[in-house]
């Protein structure tokens, strides 16, 4: 788990690398180390592999420009996931411009069209992921950041721009929703 205890080391490494090495090489290292983390988070927010590609591309282009502005107040992973979230919401806002058709709607909340839900269910690596991806985004996020990325409450609060209390509350409700879905499934199979 990345904690702020490692932030100093991460910051010093990044600072050293950006000051002494080709910035492009640093970016390549970051893509190797964190590319999947960024993509998976982007996908969990937008639920579309193509849009996750676009978000991930935009994140690393921003990171390339912002390398010198990383202040070491969080771990590199937390920093990258925060940029990913920001970018995902920016692109959601861009649907204002593109007048995207309903079938392409970048849904960050609410219920999904059933065809899309079915597709995500089929592609999901397991049943729990399928259930998590069906949650509204505010519950989906906390569960994924906690259980998949194993972030601390403090790191999650930084990324989500919430208090730790609110994060804990959302995590509680997210787990309750998954529990209910599992219960419904087990009742259905009896």
């Amino acid at each position: 788990m990345n904690t702020n205890a490692n932030a100093g080391t991460n910051f010093e490494y990044l600072k050293y690398m950006t000051e002494t090495t080709d910035t492009r090489a640093v970016l390549r290292d970051l893509m190797t180390a964190y590319g999947n983390d960024v993509w998976n988070y982007a996908y969990s927010l937008c639920r579309s592999p193509d849009q996750a590609d676009d978000i991930t591309q935009e994140v690393f282009l921003k990171v390339y420009r912002k390398l010198s502005s990383f202040r070491g107040e969080s771990s590199i992973k937390t920093w990258l996931l925060a940029i990913t979230r920001h970018t995902a919401f920016d692109m959601k806002r861009s649907s204002f411009w593109n007048r995207i058709k309903s079938s392409d709607v970048f849904q960050l909340g609410g219920t999904q069209p059933s065809a899309e839900h079915e597709a995500i269910e089929k592609l999901a690596v397991n049943d729990i992921w399928a259930k998590v991806m069906a949650l509204p985004v505010k519950y989906r996020e906390v569960l994924i950041l906690y259980a998949h990325y194993q972030l601390s409450m403090k790191e999650m609060a930084q990324i989500l721009d919430l208090s730790e209390g609110t994060v804990k509350s959302r995590l509680f409700h997210a787990r309750a929703k998954i529990a209910k879905m599992k219960e419904r499934d087990s009742l259905g199979s009896e």
């Binding site: 420009r65 411009w97 599992k182």
Partner: protein, 434 residues
């Protein structure tokens, strides 16, 4: 099922999707995009002066042709979708720029817009050309109880300066032989003090100062003067950038006698000592009709408006006709204005996106929080809010006077918005405070 049974969370350890993720194809796509951006950046620095020569060289009386600078993809302004005020690199997004679009979003931005309208006037003597003068007004556009409206409007240009507001008024001094249209800056809570001028009944003088840009520290002013002293008329044109307090001083007139100007800001003060090395190649591209004695030394320059952004233009100054005709040629200075001159000059949308909202868009301003967009057309300002997704249509339309141009745009965010609403009402509509 016991909600405390969290064993199932271990099943979230693997990635969410089978067979898809950050792969080599995506990595290659990112690298190629970076290569394209870096190539564009290299070309832009070297081609900028040449592009300026082809499209923007002006002729003696200080006229310049402003051509929209759009990249090949139709993107706004500097050929990047995001224009930086602090350099060619894209500006770092502020932490509070996260604005998820939602129906309940509250707009947290206001903007103070300064406008100029130009007029012609009859000359005071048949030997002199018709004069020009300008009138100015300022609008405060802000949300009040969730409705975006013009909360104050008044004459002159109002700008924030430090912790206060200052006002720039257009004043006129007239005698039977002289007409002097000049600008005077003062703290907004005080009245403008008219300047006094020496009058020579043997000469006819027309003098006009025109405001091109007003920021929260610097202003850009063009000056034009025509003088007749019983022989051939003389015409002079000059352009300067000044600090706001310098506009408190009475203007210098009679340019034929007063060739120098001490109350201005050279390019070097804003950009540093590297200015001369940037200006040197520009000299070679300047107008061929300018005499060999023409100077391009950074003393005289202007801040002007192009669609989507403000830009610096260096003036090559010259004298013709035995010092009876001074003028200048403006050349685009190929480095974006620093934040100390324009503290927010970013539009994170392309022309295509802007024109999808307003097909007749000519210019655009975007708020630092990306929650207000002000689009210029020939006849009106149209205000949108991209952040409030339920409000897809215009929030406000403001009619423009014929030929009205933007000279100032200052943004307020968060708690500053209600403060500015209150203060601008006091300074722009003092009659309402009685």
């Amino acid at each position: 099922m016991d909600p405390n049974d969290f064993d199932w969370e271990k099943e979230l350890s693997p990635p969410p999707l089978q067979g898809k993720g950050f792969d080599d194809q995506l990595r290659k796509r990112i690298e190629e995009q970076l290569d394209r951006k870096e190539e564009k950046r290299r070309k832009r620095f070297w081609l900028y002066p040449i592009l300026c020569t082809c499209s923007l060289l002006a002729v003696s009386a200080g006229l310049w042709i402003a051509a929209p600078l759009t990249g090949a993809s139709g993107e706004l302004a500097h050929p990047e979708a995001i224009v930086s005020a602090s350099g060619w690199e894209e500006q770092e997004l502020p932490d509070n720029a996260i604005v998820p679009a939602n129906e309940n979003y509250t707009i947290k931005t206001g903007v103070l817009i300064g406008l100029r309208q130009d007029h012609t006037s009859d000359s005071s003597h048949s030997a002199l050309p018709d004069g020009t003068y300008s009138t100015y007004r300022t609008l405060m556009v802000a949300p009040v109880q969730d409705e975006v409206q013009v909360t104050a409007e008044g004459e002159g240009i109002l700008v924030p300066y430090g912790q206060k507001f200052w006002k720039i008024d257009a004043l006129t001094h007239m005698t039977p032989t002289d007409t002097i249209h000049y600008l005077s800056a003062h703290p907004a809570d005080k009245q403008a003090v008219p300047a006094s001028f020496k009058d020579d009944p043997e000469e006819h003088l027309q003098h006009t100062e025109t405001l091109q840009f007003a920021g929260n520290q610097y202003v850009s002013v063009s000056e034009k003067e025509s003088i007749w002293r019983g022989n051939a008329p003389a015409e002079y044109s000059r352009v300067w950038v000044r600090k706001l307090p310098q506009m408190q001083e009475p203007p210098v007139t009679d340019f034929s006698s007063n060739k120098s100007d001490t109350g201005h800001v050279p390019l070097q003060e804003v950009y540093g000592e590297g200015v001369l090395s940037v200006l040197e190649p520009l000299s070679a591209l300047a107008h061929s009709e300018n005499p060999p004695s023409a100077r391009l030394d950074g003393e005289s320059w202007a801040i002007t408006r192009k669609p989507g952004f403000w830009t610096a233009q260096a003036a090559q100054t010259y004298s013709h006709l035995g010092n009876r005709n001074d003028g200048y040629t403006l050349l685009d200075y190929p480095v974006p204005l620093p934040e100390i001159v324009v503290n927010h000059d970013v539009v994170s949308n392309t022309w295509g996106q802007i024109k999808s909202l307003q097909p007749d868009a000519q210019d655009v301003l975007a708020s630092p929080l990306d929650d207000l967009l002000v689009i210029w057309t020939e006849k009106e300002l149209v205000v949108y809010s991209p952040a409030a997704s339920s409000r897809r249509g215009p929030l406000l339309r403001v009619e423009l006077k014929p030929g009205e141009k933007l000279v100032s745009a200052q943004w307020a965010t968060g708690s500053y918005v209600p403060q500015w609403v209150e203060k601008t009402r006091k300074y722009l509509e003092p009659e309402l405070e009685l």
